[in-house]
Symmetry: C7
Subunit: 248 residues, 7 copies
């Protein structure tokens, strides 16, 4: 049976419903929203973990430094998202609150997986209960748990996996190919940042200005959410662009 | 797939639902409401922040000074809106209450971003829960936080960005072109007001009488919501109109 | 796109829904109900404020003096309505309760704008929440706040404006033309009543008997809801009719 | 636009919805139910107030004296109804409870208007809230307030008016013509009863047996709900019938 | 307009909805369920009151004496039903509970009318609230109040009347004709039982075995719910059958 | 009117709705589910009561002794079901809880009818309330009350009857014919078991292996839920099969 | 009647609804989701119980050891699932919580059947209540209760059975054939693991790398959830593959 049939017969017009071949169409459509979102990349390595995203700012009147696409959940946990930004914010604020409550209650930092599970459970609920739509957002959540860097991806279904390196958004497929070839677990944080920027340059090309990049790292030892400074990012971007030009 | 198909197949007739290409059509229609609303302009500069709106009063029996399209959220925060006015009022009153509660609870003024996030979260909720429609309104929210002027725009989706200068409503595109060309961060509040009035004159033309303009500024130093007095506004309008005539 | 399309495609059959061009059709239909309602006129002047309405009693068995279309909200506030009368009553009783509660709680009279905002907020809610229809009623609310007469109009959307003089109901457009030409802010209450009665005569013509008119004034100094006595009203009506006849 | 269109397009299949010309069709259909109900008549005069109804008993096995179509709300208040009888009972029992509560709380009888407003408000609610249908019943409510007889009629919309004399049900129009011609405010209670019975005879003709008539009066002085005794009613009916025959 | 139209246009597919001619179709369909139910007969006379029903047992494996179609509500009140048996049971259990509560609270037996009104009100509610269907059952409720026998019938609408004698179910019309001809208020309980059995024989004919009859009487003096013993019933049935045969 | 019409017109697509001929179609469909369920048989006799069911295990990997299709509600009460097994489990667990609560509260065993009524009432509710579907299950409930064996059957409607012997599920009609011919109230428990097994053999034939049979008896004197041991069952099955072969 | 008809007539577009032939189509569709899930195998033997699953990881960037498809419910209970993974997680977390609460409350381990019943009841609820969809997941739950190994399977309906050996997911049928032939109750845990791996190799073939297998055993004596170490698994997989190659 072809997708067109499903549409004509209305299986995709109620959230909490299976199509005759066992699919949840509303959830599949939500994933398409994610595929149209801006690209975000996460890389785990021994030294720590990095997130690097395309802010995709096209309006020049926007204050670029105000646009943060990478959110601090806790000192040791960062998150980014592709898809409906306001959906992402709801999930991020929930995670921030949960992390804070954990710290107050147990006097110890929350582990990354607990944050991921909480977000994933809320997402699952929105695929099963009537009167709600699925969240139109995939997220990369990166953290250091007891000196181990961890990177998770969760999609609109509420499924999550741990990754060595991952990409979400419009350039997901292209970036993952690059990551697969060039990611090494023993790379340094600096090398990971370079790899991520290179992947963005490859997919966005010349449109990628410094204002569009948001990049954050957390070192395994320090466990501190740190934004990469502009100077350094500028240098890395310049190198990546010149390298890309040579290839042609 | 073309929009017409979506309509014929009913994807736009339930709020909490994705279309097969991952869009939330009801939210997109709500944005059209905003595009039909009267124009509102916000400009941030070092000296402070200004909001300037077309009240679009056409009924001569209305008491023009009673029509305020720029609302005081707190001493240091102002807001304006385009779209369904009664929707805007609900959000403004909520923001006023939140600001007041913050003052009473913490004995310090609320920061602008907290107000923006609260409004944006309510808007997001109305795009995800059944039985509610999205808010048919975009807002400009301007405030001074610790001597820094900030200007935010939030749309029916619940997304928000910080802007150097921004416009919403029917003349959004034309005004933003003007702002992009002529906005400078080191302009004075007086220059910002002139720029905003000029932009309104350019788009509304001779129909723009003094009664249709509402204009408010907050100085970085004083942090006081202040309406521009009629005399001054009259002078600026006259200049802008004469300038516009010369151009022809 | 033409209205017919909207109807065929069902955008007007669920309240909390936008049409593809960004309209809330159920709210627009509710406004049509108002346009079929009986005419009501409000005039503000220095001496105070008047409301004058066509009771539109056609059934001769009705006790005419029992039919009040102008409601006392508080000593200093009056209201009238066009559209679905039972909808209006719900709003009037809510306003009366709110005014009473204010008096008891703060030991001072409520200001007119607070009453207006409360009614408008309830109306807005009924345009956004599923399971409720919009209120099919527009209202004129007139009051004296600290020696200043104020006249507000609120429509089914929940929007409100302050007017110098206003009309609602079937003859809205004709009456507003008359008001625009002949209203002066320095007219006396007596002159305002005459203007209102004249406007009713012009639109209803000979069908306008004394039994059909309800007229109330509140003087700026006394702040007392007062019904115009029959004798006076009779005289004014006679004059207005004879004047109207001369014009022909 | 013709009613047929409304039906074809479904505007009459959801209660809380306006048709494009601003009508609430479900409420209009409920009024048709009333027009098919048995006739009920109320007459106010100086001496007091009377209600007279056709019980429309056709089943000879029914115990006629058990069928009361005129209900005692309180000592000084009576009510009757046309339309869906079980709907009427719900409203009558609510009114009886409200009257009783008032007596207990304030140690004084409730005034008729309070009873009427309470019923009318519930009716209005059922025209605005989803998940409920309008009440399919019109009511005549008659009472003596501080020596003044009052007669109210309320319809499915929740609108009410005070009448000198009124009729509801299938013969409404014919009876109201008779009332308009022959009602005088200074008629005695006996004359009022005769007028009501005559009106029933005129419309129901020979089918009107004594068992079908329910008739109650409340005297202004005594304020006591009193059923007219069978003997008297029989005599009046005989006279009315003979008079009717002469006219032919 | 013909019923077929209503069906085609969907007026009968939502409970709380009027058709354009003011009917509640779901309630009318519920009445059809009753018309397909087994026949039940009630007769009031001076000596007391009887209920007699066809149990309509066709399955020979059913324990006939376990099937009671006449329920004891209280010592002095009995009830029977036609239509959906499980619906009837819900109403009977509610009535039994109400009677018990009354006895405990007031230390006196409940009157029959209170029981009837309570059942009728619940039935009415189910014709007005969304999310519930009407009760598909008519009931005969018979009781002795202060030495007066009373027999009530209530239908799916929630309407009720007091009867001298009444029938519900498939043979309603035929039985009522017999009752009309032969019922006398001064008949003895024995004569009433004979009349009821005769009516059942006339309509069910030879299929009416002793196992299918349930018959209960309450004497005005004793006020005790009593089942007619099998021996007596057998004799009456035999007589009735032989009489019926002679008529042919 | 034919069933097909009902389907085309949608009367069977909302649970709480009557069709124009007064039927509840969703309940009728639920009964079809029962007719496709595995066969279960109950027989009451003086010595006690037996239940005997086809477990219908076809998957050889299932642990046959773990499959109990006859459930112990209390020491003296057993139950079995045909239709949706998970629906049955919900009802069985509810009954077990109710029996336990009764024992704790009153220190005496619950009677079988109370258990039956509780299950039947929940079933009725699911045929009247929106948002729930009818239970797709019929049950046989067997118990000993004060030395009297009782066997009840309840269907998806919530109707129940007491039986001498009964069958539910796919072979209902065939088995009931056998029961009707061969059941005697004075048969022993052993004879009842043999009769039930014989009926299963007749309808399931050679497919009926010992693993598929679940058989329980409760003696009137001991009031103890007892499973028939495999050895005995094996012998009875062998006899029944050989007898069946002879008949051919 | 053919399935196509059901679809055309909409019986499969509301969860809580029977089709005319007594089926719950939404539940049947949910079962199809399970049939598309990755294969999971459970085997019970005297020595204990094993679960073995295909993790079906295709993305090489996923951290394979982080993907656990077999979940620890308690020390002595393990579970795995096929179908929608996020649905499974909700059920697993519920089971873990229930097990923990049992330990705290009764100071003894929960038995496996209690865990199974709780999951099955929640699944049943989601097939009967409106506003929820069925869980799109089948589960294998394995535990040791008082030295007895038990293996249960529960499907989307909420039905469960105890198995000697069972498979769910895409290769269910093929694997069950293998299990039926080769399973013996007296096999050792090692033999059971080999049998399960062999079955996976047979169905997945060369695609089955060591990273895709998750395998857990619980010994009857130790009652400890234990993951099979990679070394051992590697060896078993190598053997199974070589054996498979020989067969060709």
């Amino acid at each position: 049976m072809q997708p067109m049939n499903h549409q004509l017969m209305g299986y995709d017009r109620a959230i909490t419903m299976f199509s005759p071949d066992g699919r949840l169409l509303q959830v599949e459509y939500a994933k398409k929203t994610v595929k149209q979102g801006s690209t975000a990349i996460g890389i785990a390595c021994k030294e720590g973990i990095i997130l690097c995203t395309d802010k995709r700012i096209v309006d020049k009147l926007v204050v670029p430094e105000s646009v943060e696409k990478i959110f601090q959940i806790d000192d040791h946990i960062a998150a980014t998202a592709s898809g409906i930004l306001s959906d992402a914010r709801v999930l991020v604020e929930r995670a921030q609150l949960k992390a804070q409550q954990h710290k107050v209650t147990y006097d110890s930092p929350i582990d990354t997986l607990s944050v991921v599970k909480d977000i994933a459970n809320l997402k699952q609920l929105c695929t099963q209960s009537g009167g709600l739509r699925p969240f139109g957002v995939s997220m990369l959540i990166a953290g250091i748990d007891h000196s181990t860097p961890r990177l998770y991806e969760t999609d609109p279904t509420g499924i999550f996996f741990q990754y060595k390196a991952a990409a979400i958004g419009e350039a997901e497929t292209e970036v993952e190919e690059i990551l697969l070839k060039e990611h090494r677990e023993d790379m340094s944080i600096d090398e990971a940042i370079k790899l991520a920027v290179k992947a963005l340059v490859t997919t966005i090309k010349d449109d990628l200005s410094i204002e569009r990049i948001d990049c954050v790292f957390i070192e395994t030892t320090k466990k501190e959410f740190t934004r990469v400074n502009q100077e350094k990012l500028n240098k890395i971007l310049a190198e990546a662009k010149s390298e890309a030009r040579k290839k042609k």
